[in-house]
Amino acid sequence: MNCLSWKLCVTIMRLVILDNYDLASEWAAKYICNRIIQFKPGQDRYFTLGLPTGSTPLGCYKKLIEYHKNGDLSFKYVKTFNMDEYVGLPRNHPESYHSYMWNNFFKHIDIDPNNAHILDGNAADLQAECDAFEKKIKEAGGIDLFVGGIGPDGHIAFNEPGSSLVSRTRLKTLAMDTILANAKYFDGDLSKVPTMALTVGVGTVMDAREVMILITGAHKAFALYKAIEEGVNHMWTVSAFQQHPRTIFVCDEDATLELRVKTVKYFKGEH
């Protein structure tokens, strides 16, 4: 990463393309690692990180864990805020996002449990839980870097097509596409798949000082095309980040398959 070109790029959208999933994961992890270290977090100065779940960020989490185990990266002064959680799924269910974060990240690092925030999908008052989450983010001083993914239908977190681009953390009913896609994690039994979730809003993520979207795989290519080459619109909610001052899309080659050659060359030239 060239320091000079980074400064010139600081207020535009970047598209970083790596050859494959592993390299994309490593690039993203290194970026997060460097941001935390450069920030110099300490007792009165926590780095706030927004985090995703799903299969895309797994490689990135593995790399972050590796950097931690090597002694290069500590999460002692990092606060995390996850994007979403299913409603009505027991916290210790193997498919809950609490379980995902514990098994794939938290149990391997040195984060203070009080600083790992995930929405509680079993709260008595779900909207109050969402409001409290927004408040916690505010009290933490806002999010320094929000890491996210993109659904095949262009959604970010559970902001399904049609979600308001200025939405805040709230309860959402899941789109049928999402439920069908999730069935494989619930023994293929549609009746077992949660139909509702608590999610940060598009507006919530847009408030972050910096956003990094991870997109890998050919099945995400169309969504990336819609997000980057078409206009900002609420049917493809990731498109909102065209208007964010500091966003990076980290992709592998397969995810760029639906982009114009011209677009790819443009961003590769920038890079």
Binding site: R91, N92, H98, S99, W102, N103, F106, K107, D112, P113, N114, A116, I118
Partner: protein, 409 residues
């Protein structure tokens, strides 16, 4: 203290850099312990928002549930069947010494003895939790005297008995109190055995079939009456025959009560069972195999003559005989040796070998929620093993109770 409110403030111990036996598989996972029990770290993180107070690096070792020996007659010179005043201290000595074999719970076993011995000895062997003082006592295993004359093996003929006359009352008269009894081995072909089996089972005592000439049908009826175990399969019973498999046939019987299967003890010391026979039993019914030592007082002692029950035995290397005969008189192979031999002889997975010495005996005794497992909430009784399954350290209730010399700093 285990469980309860005090445990919440107890320190949290995290064993790292290890593979643990959980969910029938060996996983690279940390083992968390608090208040003598296995702790769920995810629950600790999200609900209590706490981390470990102490971490212990296990050097890549395997952490398995502590071994459970349901058939051991003594060891280190101690004979549980001897009617002495010092039986209590004898049990305590064995309990402490078997920690180095990875055994964290056991059933002291009494061979066929006269009623006076039972009346004197049984009250001196109460059920007891394990700890730094030694492995826990789960209850006594009474092997005899209601067994077959023909298949008595090393048991003294003079003290064999039947319960034909008064069934369960004969049993009570012989043993005295059953309070400390966990397992009774008997021969089901003896008259009125069904009443006795039902009465024992009703009191929560595990009934085992052994030292018997029963055919398969008699054995199946005994299981239908409540028997759940076979004492040292193949030894002291009719050999397998293709038209009447005898007790051995229980392993594949289709006439057992629904949802239940038979457990069977195997002495995998390389002596009592030919490896091919061990493999046949294991392949036929792997889920029921329970490794036992059937160790005699000569366990841990050198060559020479020693006392077992009312008889003398001769130890020669890895073998013990009834003095002056060629009849095997129990094994002197420690439990960890049995586990390693079982693994090597059957070619089974490490997980299977470990379960045969921990999970299966726990299931036999209905203790599988607390013992024989590293599931959350279970007692933190476990053994640290290297890749060749040699014991490096033993823990009871999360406390280190034994450690190999080279492991000590």
């Amino acid at each position: 203290m285990r469980g309860g409110q005090g445990a919440v403030r107890a320190p949290v111990l995290q064993f790292t850099n290890c593979r643990i036996l959980r969910g029938r598989a060996l996983l690279w996972e940390d083992l968390w312990v608090r208040g003598g029990r296995i702790l769920d770290p995810e629950k600790l993180f999200f609900e209590e928002r706490r981390v470990a107070d102490e971490q212990r690096d296990c050097g890549g070792c395997i952490l398995a549930p502590g071994f459970i020996d349901v058939q051991i007659n003594g060891g280190f010179g101690v004979d549980f069947s001897q009617a002495t005043e010092g039986v209590g201290s004898g049990v305590a000595l064995v309990a402490r010494r078997i920690l180095s074999h990875g055994v964290t719970s056991f059933c002291p076993t009494l061979v066929t003895s006269p009623p006076e011995v039972y009346h004197k000895v049984l009250p001196q062997i109460p059920v007891k939790s394990g700890g730094p003082h030694g492995a826990g006592v789960l209850g006594v295993h009474l092997e005899g005297p209601f067994i077959s004359r023909e298949k008595r093996g090393a048991h003294p003929e003079a003290h064999l008995r039947s319960f034909e006359a008064n069934a369960f009352h004969d049993v009570l008269d012989t043993y005295g109190s059953l309070d400390n009894v966990r397992i009774v081995t008997l021969a089901p072909e003896l008259g009125r055995s069904h009443e006795v089996i039902q009465a024992l089972t009703a009191r929560g005592i595990c009934v085992s079939l052994g030292h018997s000439v029963a055919d398969l049908q008699a054995a199946e009826e005994a299981v239908q009456s409540g028997a759940t175990f076979i004492t040292h399969l193949f030894n002291a019973m009719l050999p397998f025959h293709h038209r009447d498999p005898g007790i051995v046939g229980l392993l594949t019987s289709d006439r057992l009560p629904r949802g239940r299967h038979i457990f069977y003890g195997m002495i995998a010391d390389g002596m009592h069972t030919n490896p091919a026979a061990l493999r046949i039993a294991h392949r036929a019914h792997p889920q029921g195999l329970v490794l036992v030592t059937d160790a005699v007082p000569a366990l841990g002692l050198g060559n020479g003559r020693h006392t077992l029950g009312q008889q003398e035995v001769e130890v020669d290397g890895l073998t013990a005989y009834v003095a002056g005969t060629q009849t095997l008189s129990g094994s002197i192979a420690p439990m960890d040796v049995c586990v390693r031999h079982f693994l090597q002889a059957t070619g089974c997975s490490v997980e299977s070998a470990l379960e045969a010495a921990s999970l299966h005996p726990a299931q036999l005794l209905g203790l599988e929620k607390r013992k024989g497992t590293l599931d959350f909430g279970a007692d933190a009784d476990f053994v640290v093993l290297d890749d060749s399954l040699h014991v490096r350290a033993t823990y009871i209730s999360g406390e280190l109770v034994w450690q190999a010399e080279e492991a000590r700093q």
